[in-house]
Structure formats: structure tokens, C-alpha cells
Symmetry: C2
Subunit: 355 residues, 2 copies
């Protein structure tokens, strides 16, 4: 959909130190504390690391009791607008686990809100647009910027994305106008994240499995490429750090070769991709990230250790960032998340020592 790409902004990554941002102003990270652990950044740039760095998508999430407690005190979108709460939620998983990256807490839907669309969080249903885009003319109602095409058209989550895909087939030109609008605001948002201290950026395309090769080629890849290029030029123009960028297009098994050349330092993989296959298609010049089946964390801890070992043996310990193939689920046991993180560190150190 070109949709969840907006998620990128919400997942700008930083090292262990985060500076809280105040209000909506762009703050250059003056006096930003020195990074204590640059393993993740080195792996993203293709430099050698002593252990394989690891983080988890949705690591600041409902599986943590302290997260549920902090979240319970505030409306969801009010939380997204509070630097203090975002900082607290961002740091919670790092107090428990020796993760190699912190993920700045935010949500993709703050962007369409900023564009004038009403989004409410419906308990048991998730984010819901009160007035999704129905007709091409509805585009005119929008302010100049926003995000997430599929959500904006579907009005909320969907299993088939039929309404959003229907736009691509019925209104290809309007779809491109919408995606261009989204790409532009995503670019500004990502640059803003770096200006505020983010040290890496991840762009999501969660709906590649709905698209298929032709629609992806026409409606996703051009914007994915353009976002990388435009973010990098703007970072240069504004004399901001050229942070590494990750592209994670879920279920885009058919587009790995294209993603390898889309301008990103790291390609994230879902758990349906075989590591060797990914390396063969993507080549040696890009760092791979992923891809343990999130549900593997339901397994007993010893089994998690075995699966991590196998994963590290398949990917190799270098030019590789360990992660799950998708986000953590709310019912997961935090101890099993800890077991995953520790297994990555222990097994990768062991492999590095004996190779």
C-alpha cells in the first residue's frame, strides 16, 4: 500500500541514550550524550562486531506490565504527544534486556491526525478512522500532509485490504497523488526524527503480501526508493548525520533483489524467507535483519536458544542484525524475550570466538 511506510517515522531508532524532545520544535541534538553501544550501528554499516546486535520489533509494547501501566494512565494519542511518556516507554525494554537499540515510541497515525483526519483508538478493534477516504474527491479535504494509505481508505485494520487495493486498480492516478503526498510527509518526518536525535531509521511496508509483484513495482517500490534518496539528500543539506536506513517490507519475498538496490543499508526479512536465499538474492553489500518467527517465543527457553543458534549459523554473525520476523505479541512472556536477546549475544560471541 505504500502505507505502513509511515511506520518508519515511528520507529526511528537510537542508541541507548535518548534525549527527550520538547513540543513540536525541531531540536538539533546538542549535548547529546555519547553513545555507549554502537554495535547495532556498526552492523548496519557493514563493520565488524564482537557480537551480533539484536532488537525486537514492538519491543516497547503490551507484553511488558510496566508498559501497560504507563499506557493506562493516558489516552493513546496523548501519550504519543508526550515526550516524557515516549521516553519512558522507549527505555522500559532496555531496563530489562541488554538490547542493542532503543526504538523511539510513537505511532504512524499521528501523521494523518496532523493532516486533519480524525483517528480514534477503539478498544478491541485498534485505530479507526471516523471518516475514511471513500471517493477520489475526498483527497481534496486533506491538509497538505499525512500518511498511511491503506488505513486511511480502509478506515481501520483489514484482512484483505480490498478497499485500498480497489483504489490502486480503479484510480491509479489518484493513488499515486496520495502516495506522493504520503512520501513527502514521511521524508520530512524522518529527517525531523534524525534532527531530534534518531541514529537510524526503519521504513515499513507491512502490506507487500497484499500487493504482489506488479502492484509493488508500480505503487510501492518507487516511493521506497525515493524516500531513501530524498531523506539522504535532505540530511546532507541540513548537515545532519547520514544515519543508516532499514527497509522492512513484510511478505515481499518477490522483491528482495529490488529492495537490495533501493538505497537502504539494511534489509529486514520476515520469517518466511530462508536466510541463505535472502543472502543469495540481496548480495554481500547490504546488512540483513531478522527473522525469527515471533511465535517461536512461545517455545520453551531451551528451544528458543536452539532456534537462535540455527538462525545465527544460517545468516552468519556479521553484516547481520538479529530480530524477529515481525513484532512481539501482547501475550508473550517477557522472560522469553530476554532468553532470545541473551541467546543472540551468547551464540554469536561463541561463533565469533571459534571461527
Amino acid at each position: 500500500m505504500g502505507a505502513d511506510r509511515a511506520a518508519s517515522g515511528s520507529n526511528g531508532e537510537a542508541g541507548k541514550q535518548l534525549r527527550s524532545m520538547e513540543g513540536g520544535e525541531r531540536l538539533l541534538p546538542k549535548g547529546f550524550p555519547r553513545l555507549k553501544n554502537d554495535t547495532f550501528l556498526r552492523a548496519a554499516r557493514g563493520e565488524e562486531t564482537e557480537h551480533t546486535p539484536v532488537w525486537c520489533m514492538r519491543q516497547a509494547g503490551r507484553y511488558l506490565p510496566e508498559f501497560r501501566e504507563t499506557r493506562a494512565s493516558q489516552d493513546f494519542f496523548a501519550t504519543c504527544r508526550s515526550p516524557k511518556l515516549c521516553c519512558e516507554l522507549t527505555l522500559q525494554p532496555l531496563r530489562r534486556f541488554p538490547l542493542d537499540a532503543a526504538i523511539i515510541f510513537s505511532d504512524i497515525l499521528v501523521v494523518p491526525q496532523a493532516l486533519g483526519m480524525e483517528v480514534v483508538m477503539v478498544p478491541g478493534k485498534g485505530p479507526t478512522f471516523t471518516e475514511p477516504l471513500k471517493e477520489v474527491e475526498d483527497l481534496l479535504k486533506l491538509r497538505q500532509k499525512w500518511t498511511l494509505m491503506s488505513y486511511m481508505i480502509e478506515g481501520g485494520g483489514s484482512t484483505t485490504m480490498a478497499k485500498a487495493k480497489s483504489w490502486l486498480y480503479r484510480h491509479p492516478e489518484a493513488s499515486h497523488r496520495l502516495l506522493r503526498l504520503l512520501a513527502d510527509v514521511i521524508i520530512d518526518y524522518l529527517v525531523g526524527q534524525v534532527a531530534a536525535g534518531a541514529q537510524a531509521l526503519q521504513l515499513f511496508e507491512s502490506h507487500a503480501g497484499h500487493l504482489g509483484p506488479e502492484l509493488f513495482q508500480d505503487f510501492a517500490l518507487p516511493y521506497i526508493r525515493d524516500i531513501a534518496q530524498a531523506v539522504k539528500s535532505k540530511l546532507k543539506e541540513e548537515a545532519l548525520p547520514l544515519v543508516p536506513m532499514i527497509i522492512f517490507a513484510k511478505d515481499a519475498h518477490y522483491a528482495l533483489r529490488d529492495l537490495a538496490h533501493a538505497g537502504y543499508e539494511v534489509v529486514g526479512l520476515d520469517w518466511t524467507i530462508r536466510p541463505q536465499e535472502a543472502r543469495a538474492q540481496i548480495g554481500k553489500d547490504v546488512t540483513l535483519q531478522g527473522n525469527l518467527d515471533p511465535c517461536a517465543l512461545y517455545a520453551p527457553k531451551e528451544k528458543i536458544g536452539e532456534l537462535v543458534k540455527k538462525m545465527l549459523e544460517s545468516f552468519g554473525t556479521q553484516r547481520y542484525i538479529a530480530n524477529l520476523g515481525h513484532g512481539l505479541y501482547p501475550d508473550m512472556n517477557p522472560e522469553h524475550v530476554g532468553a532470545f536477546v541473551e541467546a543472540v549475544h551468547a551464540h554469536s560471541r561463541h561463533i565469533n570466538k571459534h571461527s
Copy 2:
């Protein structure tokens, strides 16, 4: 999940003539009317055809006003148990479109019902188990046969299948016991369908995308293989016709080579698979089926024609059965379904004539 494989039974295909079945008795198809159109069967067996045969998954479905009308008169599962209504629903799409196959109307969930589990159809939510399997001990409550592991554990539809997958990781042996039980009943059910007149069988694995390569290898592929082999031996034993079998494992892009050798005459493909890639991996000895993006039917009719032409050029017109890459959606325009069917016939005849 090994789950929707049970769907196979519900999708046993027949030619244009169907004999209504009475009660639960197994009836040998005595006096079965002569088949008027064997194009589909010839393509499935790899024989030459004048045009490429075409059918649509979920062709008897809510997008047809006459379907909604027939269905409105009866409870869903009562409909599944009425040979007269099943026959009517099966034939409705063939009255409108020159389809090359009719799909016997049924539902996978009649099987767990027969095993003693309560399943109700909840409006707006779909089929829901009142007491899904939670603990391994719940297996003992079941009668000897049934189906659909993921539904049975999830209790209904799910976007992540986390509960069912959690079983695979936490209780691999109990999962195999459950899948063995399911495979056995599916085998009997499929043989029963042939005894009652089905002239082809399709087995679904709708959740391959949730599984990934390892879980698919361990928990799906062995049963998929076994079902083909066991159905064929039983058909021989009972002197029933050796009907062609189709395997459709949605999102199993990582398993195409294995599926090519799983004992099926036809491999169905979802729309994320490139035709040439599929042919390269599957080889020349298996018929391919698929794979237009169902959402393409939202496009204007001329665009549908163009997409069909491209699809036929990519797959070739022989050893190929045209279909969508997944089922039709309820909001689709029947005229566009007609345009799809006609485009397959017209373009394939044109290509055959000029090659």
C-alpha cells in the same frame, strides 16, 4: 496449520453436471450424466486443450444476489446439510458464466461439527467455536474425527494465528496427533466426495504464510503428501475414479519445489508468485493454476482483459488452469467476474490459434 486442508473436501470439483446427494449415505455415481465439458480435467492431466479452462475460488458466493437470496432462507450449516440447496448454490455461477468447473458447495467446518465441537456462524465475525481447544487434554474430548486445527484452537478467524502456532512450538507431539487425526478424516471425506461424484479435488493450506519454511516442513508438508497418497490408494482399493488433485497452499512461495513433488496433478498459486518463477521451480510435469490478484476484478473490464492477456502470456495456455490467486470477495461485481472468465477463453483461443 494443516488446517484449511479440510477445505479440500468442501471444494471437491465436478464438471457441469452434478448429481444431488441424499442424506449422509455414500452413493456411487450410478447413472451419472455424461460430462459435457472436460477441458478442466484435460488441463489438470496435462492433455492439450483448445482454450484455457477457468474457474474462480469462491465462485458460489456472496457476490451473487441469487446466492444471498438462497442463503438467507436457511441457517448456514443447515444449508450445508441440504443436498438440494447445495446443488442450487453450486450451479448458480454456471448459469451466469461459461465456467469450466463447478464447485460443490460445502464448508470445512462441517467436519469439526461431526467431531462433536460446537461451531456457530456469528454475523460480522464468521465461524466461531464456542469452546475452542485450549489445553492438550482437550483433545480427549473429541470424537474420533474432525478438521481445521487453527480454527479449532483460535476459536475463529485470527490475523496472527498466534494461539495455534503457539501449540506447534509448545506441544509439537500433541500438534502432530491432532494433525494426524485431521488428515485421516480429510482422507475419508475426500474419498467420500469422489464416491458421490466429485471429479477433481482441491486441498487448501490457507495458512502457509503464517508457518514459514521450518514449520511448513514439519507440520504441513508431511500431511499434504500423505493425503494425496492415501486418497489415491483408497480410490484404487474402492475401484473409484482416480481423479486429479490440486494443492493450493497460500503464501507458500518458499515451498513450491516441495509441492511440485507432493503427489498432486495441479499446484495452485497465489498472486504474489511470478508465473515464470513458479514454472521454473515446479517443472513441466505439473499443471499450474492461478493466479490473478482477486482485487484486479475491481478494475475496469478493459483492464481485466489486459491483465488476463498478460497472465496467459506468462503461464502459457497449456498445462494451465486460469483462476484467481484467492477467492472472490462479496462486494465484487458479477459482471467483472464474467469479464474475467470470457477474457480467459477469448485470449487463450486467440493465442492457441496463432501459435
